[in-house]
């Protein structure tokens, strides 16, 4: 195998030009937490390596009505950010439950984690319940894609190979919203068996005005479970509603992943359990 041609563009425009020129042959490198291990193992041999890590313009987290997270912000940047800590605790939950420790948080980027589209990763389900929008830049311009439309399958997204994910836009949550992400893994550095993200918006009378629930780790693509959301809407969070949420989730997932870590039925059941825990946690916040 020959060494890849290494490109280190200094601006977004330059990066997009390189991707356009080597369309189909350019491998985007950001924090490298997915790609470099694959290269070490000989499972990936890029011909053109496009290292976007120097595009400082993609590193910022900015606040307007909501929050815009640059694709090169790291997981450590997320958990250090004041507004994320106070208003979006589910993202802090997700990062703290990730495998890999401080080192992976320091180096791994949010954009890389999303573009990897690994079903075991935690942020995709969180973005679904936040109604996040992903910003893709290409030579032809910018397009915005709903997080619910971004993931196509394990390792596959709608990002074209001449595009870069530049930012994630998170609309402000309604007043009274609580959020949480809970997952099951078998060891500290292990991958997600099942995870659930929840946003709950409470009414003045203590019932749920709005509930958003998504599961991860269970199917190739993370998804919102609207049938379980409907169970909560207009009701209080009680042991009965939590049991109904669990049952609804377990009943809705028809294509659970089965692998060496867990059988399909176990994953389906655990997705229900994690969802109930995420709802209870979000309700308490």
């Amino acid at each position: 195998m020959t060494a890849p041609v290494y490109h280190a563009p200094r601006s977004l425009a330059e990066a997009l030009a390189v991707l356009q020129e080597f369309r189909g042959a350019g491998t985007v490198l950001a924090g490298g937490q997915d790609i470099v291990p694959l290269m070490n193992q000989g499972r990936l041999a890029p011909t053109h390596l496009v290292d976007i890590a120097r595009l400082e313009e993609l590193r910022n987290i900015t606040e307007d009505a909501g929050l815009t997270i640059g694709a090169l912000a790291t997981h450590a940047d997320l958990v250090r950010h004041g507004t994320i800590r106070s208003h979006l605790p589910l993202l802090v939950d997700a990062v703290r439950q990730m495998g890999g420790g401080l080192q992976v948080r320091n180096r791994g980027t949010i954009g890389g984690s999303l573009c990897a589209a690994n079903p075991a990763y935690d942020l995709p389900a969180c973005l679904l319940v936040l109604d996040a929008v992903l910003v893709l830049a290409g030579a032809a311009g910018v397009r915005r894609v709903s997080s619910s439309a971004f993931f196509l399958g394990a390792g596959r997204t709608v990002r074209r190979d001449d595009e870069l994910l530049t930012a994630i836009e998170i609309p402000a949550l309604p007043t009274g919203a609580g959020s949480a992400y809970v997952k099951l893994k078998f060891m500290e550095g292990g991958y997600t068996i099942a995870g659930a993200a929840c946003v709950l918006v409470a009414s003045a009378n203590g019932t749920c005005r709005e509930a958003r629930l998504a599961v991860s780790g269970v199917s190739a693509v993370p998804r919102r479970i609207s049938a379980a959301e409907a169970v909560l809407a207009g009701h209080r969070v009680t042991s009965e509603t939590l049991a109904a949420v669990s049952a609804q989730i377990a009943g809705t997932i028809t294509d659970p992943i089965e692998d060496v870590m867990a059988p399909a039925d176990y994953r389906r059941e655990m997705a229900g359990v994690m969802a109930a825990r995420a709802v209870a946690e979000a309700a308490a916040r």
């Binding site: 060494a3 495998g99 080192q103």
Partner: protein
Amino acid sequence: MTERIRLTVNGLLRDLDVDPRRALVHVLRDQLGLTGTHTGCLTGHCGACTVRLDGRAVKSCTVLAVSADGARVETIEGVLGDSALHPLQQAFWDRFGFQCGFCTPGMIMTALELLAEQPVPDHAAVREALSGNLCRCTGYQSIVDAVLAAAEAMQRPPERRSPR
């Protein structure tokens, strides 16, 4: 084809020609002879190759050397003072924080960041910080004890440096 990069490794400027496929850990070990940084899994799991890159702990098997161009790198060799062990190294020694020692450099490089950010961590904070470092001798309890002991030692004024 190689790429020319410049690193500041343990305070020394180093100009290197590197294969763009090579992880930083290989360049540190094979091109600079800094073998205190260990190659474990090469998949980002074990943490034995942890170094500090611009002050932050990273697994150097997950960083291509070429993408570290211009960075400051600190390895376990840079932790040792002029003669005395760093308080973290001393605490690992005193508290039996290692058995075979393979994971120790990575543990110490990670713990350095924890203590820089949180000088008085509790037990849970140490465990969370070290969650990306594996010890296959299962010495976690004494490793956590060592980091807590080091944190305490680093809070005390250094006695040896008193002017008497």
